[in-house]
């Protein structure tokens, strides 16, 4: 599996995702095209499917009985059916693809993330590497150039504190966005 092999690398490269697009997207496009979907809808569904697949690989929760192509196609199919409510009764969903929502982020979340990026992109990248990509402290230290795992740990908590302070400081503006 291309993505699983790449998990140990420093970062998932564009090339790995391009391989997946070339390998799986034509099948997904044909499936959606046959059911009256547009190319833009197929692109959208496939992007969500890749994101879900990526997150599952990161968390080590991909079922080993599926091939990579079969798995991504399964997620895409599920997303298409759920999104457009087509053929639900004709094609019962397989429980193994209990796909979570990927677009549940609110506009307010995205606004505050934009503010956080401006306040400290490097800290956000570091926190992403640890909490989302689930890098080990050793890999985190290597990626960000820290002398030791201990330094990386301290920096991670400093970044978290910085983000927390920023959120607290901007909570008024944040609530304005929410309301």
């Amino acid at each position: 599996m291309v993505l699983e092999e790449d998990k140990k690398q420093v970062t998932v490269s564009d090339g790995v995702f391009l391989q997946l697009y070339k390998k799986v997207f034509p099948t997904v496009a044909r499936y959606i095209g046959k059911r009256g979907g547009t190319l833009e809808e197929a692109k959208d569904v496939f992007q969500d499917a890749l994101l879900i697949y990526y997150e599952r690989v990161q968390s080590g929760s991909t079922p080993i009985r599926n091939t990579e192509k079969g798995y991504i196609f399964g997620i895409s199919k599920h997303l298409w059916i759920r999104r457009f409510k087509q053929q639900v009764t004709m094609e019962p969903l397989n429980e193994q693809w209990d796909v979570p929502e990927t677009k549940e982020e609110t506009i307010a979340d995205r606004q505050i993330v934009q503010m956080l990026k401006q306040a400290g992109e490097r800290c956000m990248q570091l926190l992403k590497s640890f909490y989302y990509e689930q890098l080990t402290m050793a890999d985190l230290a290597k990626r960000f150039g820290f002398a030791s795992e201990r330094s990386a740990t301290v920096q991670k908590f400093k970044c978290l504190e910085k983000v927390r302070d920023f959120v607290k400081k901007n909570i008024g503006q944040y609530e304005d966005i929410i309301n």
Binding site: A29, V113, L116, L160, V163, V167
Partner: protein
């Protein structure tokens, strides 16, 4: 590590259910008694959600870049033509 960072680590361990029953109980008592601690805990929980949003946005940006490359680079022209035929 300074005190405020030690507290952040403790709150993270609590949120991720890594504390022993004794430490959990102790922290829950502190949350009731210590001014501002509950607020710091809620803010920290919010931070993890925002890190998730930021991270997903980064991956989406990367996927959009890759998709754009696939549909615009001459090397993939034949494959793209094949894909477009599914929507005629």
């Amino acid at each position: 590590m300074r005190t405020s960072l030690i507290e952040i680590r403790l709150l993270e361990d609590y949120l991720q259910q890594r504390l022993s029953p004794e430490d959990k109980l102790l922290l829950e008592a502190r949350l009731l008694l210590e001014e501002g601690l509950q607020e710091r805990l809620s803010l920290q929980q919010r931070c993890y959600q925002l890190i998730q949003v930021y991270s997903r946005e980064s991956v989406r940006e990367q996927l959009q870049r890759v998709e754009h490359a696939l549909f615009t680079q001459p090397a993939h022209k034949r494959l793209v033509q094949k894909i477009k035929q599914y929507f005629l």
